[in-house]
């Protein structure tokens, strides 16, 4: 089998769906993944390290990077920029790595527009009730925050059809295996096998001519 480029994987999901834990486990379990690290102009929080949680930069540099078309997608929240630097992602894809972006729906849709061959995965708890239970169960959030999160989840649920697959996170290990199987299946979609199709098509044409 011809080694083709890696797959650009976008993982989104409701707050409380366990995306972060899933992604960490995928990176630890399999060696075909690379994680894209976002760039931001916001201040690092306690314990955050440059190049680990985020690449921290200033507004001037970020805007210069926008000007150079250096982001796959970017957005501005609460006065701070957040973006996915293009160079690292493209390098890793060329090297055959499947690159994971953990971003939300607006960013995901922008990625799909720019890279139609990207794979959009949406992670959800088994039910809305379970999502509510997880948000309340943390015990760390005020009722206002929980209400906000539920309202946001309700909004996000309107966009689910834009994703290629919806994966239920009930058991962490099962869900990681499912995500991995989906990525593996996606490798066989025509959009990701262009080279193979082109070659077999040309060869067949040659043979058919030769056999006439």
């Amino acid at each position: 089998m011809i080694r083709e480029k890696g797959i650009l994987i976008v993982i989104s999901g409701f707050s409380g769906a366990g995306k972060g834990t899933l992604v960490k486990k995928m990176l630890r379990t399999y060696d075909n993944y690379a994680l894209s690290i976002s760039m931001t102009t916001r201040q690092p929080r306690e314990g955050e390290r440059d190049g680990v949680e985020y690449f921290f930069t200033d507004k001037e540099q970020f805007e210069e990077n926008i000007g150079r078309d250096g982001f796959i997608e970017y957005a501005c929240y609460c006065g701070n920029y957040y973006g996915t630097p293009k160079a690292y992602v493209e390098e890793q894809l060329e090297a055959g790595k499947d690159v994971i972006l953990e971003i939300e729906i607006q960013g995901a849709l922008k990625v799909k527009e720019k890279f139609p061959e990207s794979l959009l995965l949406f992670v959800t708890p088994p039910s809305a009730e379970e999502l509510q239970r997880r948000l309340v169960g943390r015990g760390t959030e005020t009722p206002e925050v929980i209400a906000k999160r539920l309202a946001r989840a309700s909004e996000e649920s309107e966009g689910i059809e834009a994703y290629d697959y919806i994966v239920v996170n009930d058991d962490l290990d099962v869900c990681v295996a499912e995500l991995h199987a989906i990525v593996d299946a996606a490798r066989r979609a025509p959009v990701r096998r262009e080279q193979f199709i082109k070659e077999i098509r040309e060869e067949l044409k040659g043979f058919a001519k030769g056999a006439e």
Copy 2:
């Protein structure tokens, strides 16, 4: 997880790709599949049994069935009708079985048009060279037949992009496992999780309202 309807699976592939053997093995290995049996007006060949290889019928009955919209797809080759009866397929899908149709590209495209949620799989040998080798290697075909098959494969290769997945049949067991994994992944596409999406959306809306 909510038990949704089964998946309508179309398997096509080059002559010599080993479709028949793959399908038999899938049916033997896993219990989620049902095989759709075509109906035809052609005469049974030596050893063919009604309801096993085909349902054999006459022209009048076949055309009556067309009139009742009783086929998922049908076509006429060499003066004989061939078609996929709708009733059995729909019954099995409703019962949660994944129904396999082993048909060729024209039929596959008609199925996709009528059932956009169907899953189109194309099976291919690892290379055109291997396909030629298999056709020649059988030793049972005249050069003319081999030439015709290669010309036909070349034509068929033009339609590959219409399929959802392209699966290489190099090792039978590996290929069967891959096909099964693809079907399993496909269960998580939004088009096949409409019920789940609808329910979680409505529940979330309710919670968001309640938390306001």
